[in-house]
C-alpha cells in the first residue's frame, strides 16, 4: 500500500474510534520518544507520562555529563511534546508503590514501561564495600544532582583513582575528575560537587578493563576529548598496541578510527615522554588493559581502600565476543578511590510485570511484554543499559510502532473507554500522593535557572525533592 494511502487510511480509522489512552512510565528519553512517536502518528491518542521524581527527563538531566550541554538539547523537543494538548506529565508518582501496574492497566488502553536502569552491576569481589569504593552510577548521580546521591560525599583526598570499566561513563568520570575547574564552573554541575572537586587531590586516573583495546566500549568523540583535556597527559603503553594497526586494517570504520587514535596517542606520547618527564604536567590519565579486579585491599586499619589486586588476563577469541581468561599472574595497583563502572542495571518494578533476572530486562518481543497484553516496554529496561540517545530513540520508536500497530489491528480494544488519569488521580489522592504537573516543573526549572544565573551557570540544580515540592506549594 502506498505510504500516503496507508497514512490516510490510518487517519480515517483513528478518526472514527474513541481516543486511546496510553500511559508511559518514566520520563527519560525512552518515555518521551515513545510518547512523541505515538502522538505524532495517531491523531487522537492521549498519552500520560508518569515519573517518580518531581522533575522529568531522567538520564538526560542526571546522566549526561555537565560539560556536554549539547546532548541535552533533546530536552527542547521533549518540552514541546509535554506541552502539547494530548500529552500530560505527572511527576512525584512512584509506579509500583503509589499506584500499581495493574491499576494503570485498568485505567489505560496500553501501558509502556520506560523506567530505565536505576541500579548498577556489582563486582562481587571482597572489599567492594570498603570506604572509598563507589559505583560509577552513584558518582555520576552525585555530580549531576540526583536526589538519592546527594549525600555521597566521595573522598577525593587521594592522589590516584582507579576506574574499572572502559565505557563512556568511565571516560566521563575521568574527565570530571581531571578537568580544569574553570571548565566546570560554568556548567550545571552541582555547587556541592564543584566545591568538593576544588579540594580534590586526585591527579592520576587509571581506567582498567578486563579485555584489550579492540574491545573498548567508549566512543571516539569522548576519547578525543580526554586526549585533548588541558593540563593532562594521556599515559598509554605502546606495548598494549603491538600488531593492532594490522588487526584493524579491514575493520569497520568506527572501530578502525578508534583504535588508530589510541595507537597514535600511545606512540606520540611515548616519544614525548622523555622530553616531558620532568615537565610539570599536573595531571595524568591512562588506560590499562587485560586486568580483572579480584580484591579491593584495605588500609592497615581495615577501613578504607588502599589498592586493588588485579588478575592479568589473556584473550580467547576476538572482536566483541572475545573473552578474558586469567593467566594466573597478579598485579597490585595502589589507589585511594575506586569507581566501578561496569554497567547500569534495571530492577523489577511490580510483581505483575515479568522480569528476566539473568539479563535484568523485561522479556519482550519488539517492545510487547511477553505474556501480558496491553503492556509494553522501551529503552534500557527493554534492551539493557547500553547505547546513546539515538539508540534509545530508535528503540522507543520501535515500541511505539508496536503500540500503533496493535491499535490499528484491534489488538488493543479501544471500544471500551478508559478513564486514564481520571481513575489514577483518585487512587493517588486516596493515598496522599500529589502529582507534579509539567507547568509546576517549569516553575522549578525557572527557579534553577535563576539561581544559576548569579554564578554564570545554566542552572543550579535543586537536589532535595522536598525543596522542589515546597517551591511549588505542595
Amino acid at each position: 500500500m502506498a505510504a500516503p494511502a496507508r497514512v490516510g487510511l490510518r487517519r480515517w480509522l483513528s478518526s472514527r474510534a474513541p481516543a486511546p489512552r496510553i500511559c508511559v512510565v518514566g520520563s527519560g528519553p525512552a518515555g518521551f520518544y515513545t510518547a512523541q512517536h505515538i502522538l505524532k502518528h495517531h491523531d487522537l491518542a492521549q498519552v500520560d507520562i508518569y515519573e517518580k521524581l518531581p522533575v522529568p527527563f531522567g538520564l538526560v538531566r542526571f546522566g549526561v555529563a555537565p560539560d556536554h550541554p549539547e546532548v541535552k538539547n533533546v530536552i527542547n523537543t521533549f518540552t514541546h511534546t509535554a506541552r502539547s494538548d494530548r500529552c500530560a506529565y505527572y511527576g512525584n508518582v512512584t509506579v509500583g508503590r503509589d499506584v500499581t501496574v495493574g491499576e494503570l492497566q485498568q485505567a489505560y488502553h496500553a501501558v509502556v514501561l520506560s523506567y530505565g536502569a536505576e541500579d548498577n552491576r556489582v563486582l562481587g569481589i571482597p572489599g567492594e564495600n570498603l570506604s572509598g569504593v563507589y559505583s560509577a552510577r552513584a558518582f555520576v548521580g552525585w555530580y549531576n544532582g540526583l536526589p538519592e546521591n546527594r549525600d555521597l560525599k566521595p573522598d577525593l583526598s587521594c592522589e590516584t583513582a582507579l576506574i574499572l570499566g572502559h565505557g563512556n561513563v568511565a571516560l566521563d568520570i575521568a574527565r570530571i575528575l581531571l578537568s580544569p575547574l574553570d571548565f566546570l564552573r560554568k556548567t550545571d554541575i552541582t555547587d556541592c560537587s564543584l566545591a568538593a572537586l576544588a579540594c580534590s587531590k586526585v591527579k592520576r586516573v587509571w581506567l582498567a578493563g578486563r579485555r584489550g583495546p579492540l574491545q573498548v566500549a567508549f566512543t571516539i568523540k569522548e576519547l578525543r576529548e580526554m586526549i585533548n583535556l588541558p593540563g593532562t597527559q594521556p599515559v598509554l603503553n605502546p606495548a598494549d598496541f603491538t600488531g593492532l594497526e594490522n588487526a584493524v586494517k579491514d575493520a569497520p570504520r568506527p572501530r578502525k578510527r578508534l583504535t588508530e587514535l589510541m595507537i597514535k596517542t600511545a606512540l606520540e606520547k611515548h616519544r614525548e615522554k622523555a622530553v616531558m618527564a620532568q615537565a610539570a604536567v599536573p595531571r595524568q590519565w591512562g588506560l590499562k588493559f587485560q586486568r580483572s579486579p579480584q580484591e579491593v585491599l584495605p588500609t592497615a586499619d581495615g577501613m578504607r581502600v588502599r589498592g586493588v589486586r588485579m588478575a592479568l588476563t589473556r584473550l580467547e577469541g576476538s572482536g566483541d565476543s572475545a573473552k578474558a581468561v586469567p593467566t594466573g599472574d597478579m598485579e597490585e595497583l595502589e589507589c585511594g578511590l575506586v569507581l566501578s563502572s561496569i554497567g547500569y542495571r534495571s530492577l523489577p518494578l511490580d510483581p505483575a510485570v515479568p522480569f528476566d533476572t539473568q539479563h535484568s530486562i523485561i522479556p519482550n518481543n519488539l517492545g510487547r511484554v511477553m505474556g501480558v497484553p496491553g503492556l509494553y516496554c522501551s529503552g534500557w529496561v527493554k534492551r539493557g543499559p547500553v547505547g546513546v540517545i539515538i539508540t534509545t530513540m530508535n528503540d522507543s520508536f520501535d515500541t511505539a510502532q508496536s503500540v500503533l500497530e496493535d491499535l490499528q489491528e484491534g489488538v488493543l480494544d479501544v471500544s471500551v473507554s478508559k478513564e486514564g488519569f481520571g481513575a489514577v488521580g483518585s487512587i493517588l489522592r486516596s493515598r496522599g500522593i500529589r502529582p507534579v504537573s509539567f507547568s509546576e516543573w517549569e516553575k522549578i526549572d525557572a527557579a534553577e535557572v535563576a539561581r544559576g544565573k548569579a554564578a554564570g551557570k545554566p542552572r543550579e540544580k535543586i537536589v532535595d525533592p522536598q525543596e522542589m515540592l515546597q517551591l511549588i506549594g505542595h
Partner: protein, 261 residues
C-alpha cells in the same frame, strides 16, 4: 488606535469559543499529502473576515499621528500578531486543517521585523517557522528531495547556505527523530545518504563530524550528517536518502507478517 483594533476584535472573538491553553502541536506536514479535511469553508470565512479587519485598520492606524515613536512596520506587525493570536484558538476550536494554519502563520510571520537568525552551531527546536528575511530574495531557491524511510519522496525548496538539517526543520518535513541535538555534533540523527557524484563535491568532512557519523546506523560510503552540509547552487535537484534504522527493518517485517495472517 490600538484600542480601535482591540474593540473591533472583541465582537469577532465573542463569536468564537476560545480554547483555553491552546498549545502548538508539532505540525505534521508532508507536501505529498493532501490537506486533511476539517472545516475548510468555515475557516476560510473567518480568515477573510479577520483579513478584512486587518486591511481596513492598518491604513487608519498608520495615518494617525498619536504615537510618533512607532514605525509603520511596528504597527502592522503588532496587528498581524494580534490577529494570529486570535486565530490560533479559533483554528484549534474548529479543528481546521493544519496546513491552512501553517500557511496563515507564514503570512503573519513575514511581517516580523527581524528574521530569526539560525546560528551555524544550533537553533531552538521550537523555531519551526521560517521568517522571510528579505535579504536573500535575490538567491534562487534550490530544490531538494528527501527519500524518507518508508520510501516516500518529500520535495522542498531550500536557500543557499542553509544546512540540510535547517531545511528539514524549517520545512517541517515528516522525518521522525531528525536532528535531536539541534545541529551541535552531539548525535547522528541527521544522518543522510548522498548520491556518489554529489557526495564528492561536498566540503571536506571534519574529524568531529566523522566521529559522530561513526555512531550512525546504516553508515555508507556516501553518508554525511545533514547539519554539516550546506546547500550550494550545484545541489539543485539533489536527492538524499534518510537511512533505514535497524528498528525500521524489523517493524516492516513485522507488519508484513501480520498482513499475511
Amino acid at each position: 488606535m490600538m484600542l480601535v483594533t482591540i474593540l473591533c476584535s472583541v465582537p469577532v472573538s465573542a463569536l468564537i469559543q476560545p480554547q483555553v491553553g491552546w498549545k502548538a502541536t508539532r505540525l505534521k506536514q508532508s507536501p505529498s499529502l493532501p490537506p486533511q479535511g476539517g472545516c475548510p469553508n468555515f475557516s476560510l470565512f473567518f480568515f477573510f473576515l479577520l483579513s478584512t479587519i486587518f486591511i481596513t485598520l492598518t491604513p487608519a492606524c498608520l495615518a494617525t499621528k498619536d504615537t510618533p515613536g512607532d514605525t509603520k512596520q511596528d504597527l502592522s506587525s503588532m496587528i498581524a500578531q494580534g490577529i494570529s493570536g486570535l486565530v490560533r484558538p479559533l483554528l484549534s476550536g474548529l479543528k481546521v486543517s493544519k496546513t491552512h494554519f501553517v500557511y496563515f502563520c507564514k503570512v503573519t510571520e513575514q511581517n516580523c521585523i527581524r528574521s530569526k537568525q539560525v546560528s551555524r552551531r544550533g537553533f531552538s527546536s521550537t523555531c519551526k517557522l521560517q521568517c522571510a528575511s528579505g535579504e536573500s530574495s535575490s538567491a534562487d531557491p534550490v530544490t531538494v528531495h528527501f527519500i524518507n524511510r518508508d520510501g516516500e519522496r518529500l520535495t522542498t525548496t531550500a536557500k543557499e547556505g542553509e544546512s540540510l538539517l535547517e531545511v528539514v526543520v524549517n520545512q517541517n518535513l515528516a522525518i521522525d527523530g531528525f536532528g535531536a541535538c539541534e545541529g551541535t555534533l552531539a548525535c547522528s540523527t541527521c544522518h543522510l545518504i548522498f548520491e556518489k557524484d554529489v557526495f564528492q563535491k561536498l566540503d571536506a568532512i571534519s574529524d568531529e563530524e566523522m566521529d559522530m557519523l561513526d555512531l550512525a546506523y546504516g553508515l555508507t560510503e556516501t553518508s554525511r550528517l545533514g547539519c554539516q552540509v550546506r546547500i550550494k547552487k550545484l545541489m539543485d535537484g539533489l536527492t538524499v536518502r534518510v537511512p533505514v534504522e535497524v528498528s525500521d527493518i524489523r517493524s516492516q517485517l513485522e507488519v508484513g507478517k501480520q498482513s499475511k495472517q
